[in-house]
């Protein structure tokens, strides 16, 4: 190949590739609306709060950003909004050793931010992040009723048992030693603030996806508490 031929191939080849990129860009932009919910004023205001405090300087969102803190794409799927709002306002009031500092958001800003995080969690990301394929169930073989409920209500989103689960709330591996009283647990689960002032743990009602009858709730709370005291 002569130098001139190489040069022409470079120039025209690149222009052609760029033209294809432009076409794909136009097509992509046209398809974005159907892949995400509508962007309300509140969501947009939340996005601005996200930029204002430079959350991307520690977190990733849609997997892009900084790798110092967890990804924010599907946070609202696993944790209740009230809890997240409390956390963002003052992380160390909930988790004393949290690596996230208090950034000074106002109540209003935090509310908008949650609306933004809820929006992003509904974007069609081609199934990212993927479900862990090797996920261990903490139970393994002999699941007692409360253990199944512990999974069902996704308590693992916030609590760890033997290294598995979230780190937002205390580790529950030895909770049976620390709090052996079934009645305490039932009270705590029903309304955490009744026993722990300013608790950030959601009430049992807020974790339910469907309405349950009172007797059913009674039963499940007891089963959960029975499971918790076995952890030691």
């Amino acid at each position: 190949m002569s130098t001139n031929a190489a040069k022409n191939l470079f120039i025209f080849g690149s222009l052609l590739c760029f033209a294809v990129l432009i076409i794909l860009t136009i097509d992509t932009i046209g398809k974005l609306d159907e892949r995400a919910p509508e962007i309300t004023e509140e969501v947009n205001a939340g996005k601005k709060v996200w930029h204002k405090y430079d959350c991307i300087g520690c977190h990733t969102i849609l997997g892009n950003g900084s790798y110092f803190a967890p990804d924010m794409t599907k946070t609202t799927d696993r944790k209740p909004k009230e809890y997240l709002k409390k956390f963002i306002l003052d992380p160390r009031s909930i988790k004393p050793d949290s690596a996230m500092p208090k950034l000074g958001l106002s109540e209003d800003e935090a509310g908008k931010l949650i609306a933004f995080l809820e929006w992003i969690s509904k974007v069609d990301t081609n199934d990212w992040p993927p479900q862990p394929i090797l996920a261990l169930s903490i139970a393994g073989r002999t699941a007692i009723a409360g253990q199944v409920l512990f999974q069902k209500y996704d308590c693992v989103a916030c609590h760890q048992i033997r290294g598995i689960g979230g780190a937002a709330g205390p580790d529950l591996t030895y909770i049976g030693l620390k709090r052996p009283d079934i009645q305490w647990h039932i009270k705590h689960l029903r309304n955490p603030e009744s026993v722990i002032p300013d608790s950030a743990m959601p009430r049992f009602d807020d974790l339910l996806e469907d309405e349950l009858r009172d007797e059913q709730i009674e039963k499940e709370l007891k089963e959960l508490a029975e499971f918790l005291i076995t952890l030691k």
Binding site: L9, D54, F68, L103
Partner: protein, 453 residues
């Protein structure tokens, strides 16, 4: 030939190296914050912003310095306007200083980051392009003045060389690709879509053109190799860079809310991206092998070849391993990305500028012989440290991918307990890297000033 214009290149190199020092010092602080988040008055996000912005800005200033050297030498004339180049230099320094101060103020008090005219005053809150809009505009003006000066210089003697063409073409493409980062979008998906135009089409497009042009320039200057052969391979390299790199952009559009066809486009084109980088390695070796005669500037040649190799390893190999959607689905946004980011930037661009400095500084200072050991020492301190930063971080990425993404353990648990040792290693070798930079800065200020003994 000795040109007045080359003093401008020296100014840019000096500013670049000082920012390099800042970058590495804050890098070490960031590394320590992985173990002690409250280690410093500024939070991690501000430190990281300083780290990556200092990086990008010093590399850009290094490229500008290199261009102010290459264009007069290739055109065999002084710059079109030396005063304009001085103005452009100081305008850049002022803008960059103002932006840095802004980041620090914002870090100390986020409330100072107010909204004016629809954008943020101090920090835009978007990775790499944190600089606020007013600074973006000043930076664009500065780049336009810089381009104008160099284009007019080329027009003065109408000696159009291939190196000039690709170098200025790459720089123009660079300036244009800054624009997609300069408007606000309500959708975070669209925000990231355009953001990647800037980030990806810079490092895997325009910057790679600049690298190919400077590689050809250095091989010619060091080895007196035939320009026509160098030009031909340079065109083939940059042709392949853009053929694979432009649509390779798709490897960032797998999971951000864009249509599924990007999995194909990104996967196919980006997995070919290492090919031109490998070609550059071969080019460097072939030219060196075919040239007989003594090479005076051995350290310059050493760095040039090292740049070609580490460009391929860091960008090509460490990039291609996680570029297929089947892999990227699991590794996206983990420490694997950090490891790749470090080795790629180091190999492709840090070593490029370091090589250019060592290739051109003797001529700028008007010496032919100089003490070369400082250059070698700096190189080995930096390179070995970088390798021992990247290995632990790759390890951390593998552990994270396995435990968090495959087993479903919590992010915080993996970071705080399983990966702790990797953070310790990174911080230790970060100090080793700093030693290398210090050796180089000292060598830069003294090179050619004392007679060789």
């Amino acid at each position: 030939m000795h040109y007045q214009s080359h003093k401008i290149a020296l100014n840019f190199y000096t500013a670049a190296l000082l920012l390099f020092l800042v970058q590495v010092v804050v890098g070490i602080i960031a590394a320590l914050q992985f173990m002690w988040p409250d280690f410093f008055i500024l939070n991690f996000n501000t430190i990281r912003t300083l780290h990556i912005n200092a990086l990008v800005v010093w590399l850009l200033m290094g490229m500008m310095g290199a261009t102010y050297y290459v264009i007069p030498e290739e055109s065999e004339t002084e710059l079109w306007s030396i005063p304009l180049a001085h103005v452009q230099f100081w305008a850049t320094v002022l803008t960059v200083s103002a932006v840095i101060i802004g980041y620090i103020v914002m870090g100390l008090n986020p409330q100072a980051n107010i909204e004016i005219l629809g954008t943020r005053l101090l920090n835009e809150g978007r990775e790499y392009i944190e600089a606020p809009r007013w600074a973006d505009i000043l930076i664009v003006v500065s780049i336009l003045l810089f381009l104008l000066n160099n284009f007019m210089t080329v027009l003065k003697t109408k000696k159009f060389t291939a190196v000039q063409g690709v170098l200025l073409g790459g720089l123009t493409f660079l300036a244009l690709m800054y624009l997609p980062g300069m408007f606000y979008t309500k959708s975070m998906v669209l925000d990231q879509f355009w953001w990647w135009w800037v980030v990806h089409l810079w490092v895997e497009g325009s910057w790679e053109l600049i690298a190919a042009a400077l590689l050809a320039f250095m091989l010619h200057k060091l080895l007196k190799a035939d320009v026509r052969v160098l030009a031909k391979w340079m065109y083939i390299e940059v042709g392949l860079v853009l053929f694979t790199g432009i649509l390779g952009l798709g490897h960032h559009y797998y999971w951000i809310g864009t249509p599924r066809y990007w999995l194909w486009v990104g996967g196919v084109f980006s997995s070919l991206e290492p090919v031109p980088l490998l070609l550059m390695v071969w080019d460097a070796f072939r030219t060196t092998r075919e040239t007989r005669g003594v090479v005076e500037n051995k350290v310059g040649l050493h760095l040039t070849v090292a740049h070609a190799i580490f460009n391929f390893v860091g960008a090509g190999l460490w990039g291609v391993v996680h570029t297929l959607p089947q892999v990227n689905k699991w590794t996206h946004g983990t420490q694997i990305t950090t490891a790749h980011g470090h080795l790629a930037f180091y190999g492709a661009y840090v070593l490029l500028i370091v090589a250019m400095i060592y290739v051109t500084l003797p001529s700028i200072r008007g010496v032919r012989q100089f003490r070369q050991s400082g250059g070698y020492q700096a190189f080995w301190w930096m390179t070995i440290s970088m390798i021992f930063i990247v290995i632990p971080i790759t390890g951390a990425g593998m552990v994270q991918t396995y435990l968090e993404r495959l087993l479903g353990l919590d992010y915080v648990t993996v970071k705080a307990s399983y990966n702790l040792w990797f953070w310790i290693f990174r911080a230790l070798f970060g100090v080793g890297f700093l030693v290398g930079v210090l050796i180089m800065v000292k060598d830069f200020f003294t090179l050619g000033k004392k007679p060789v003994s």
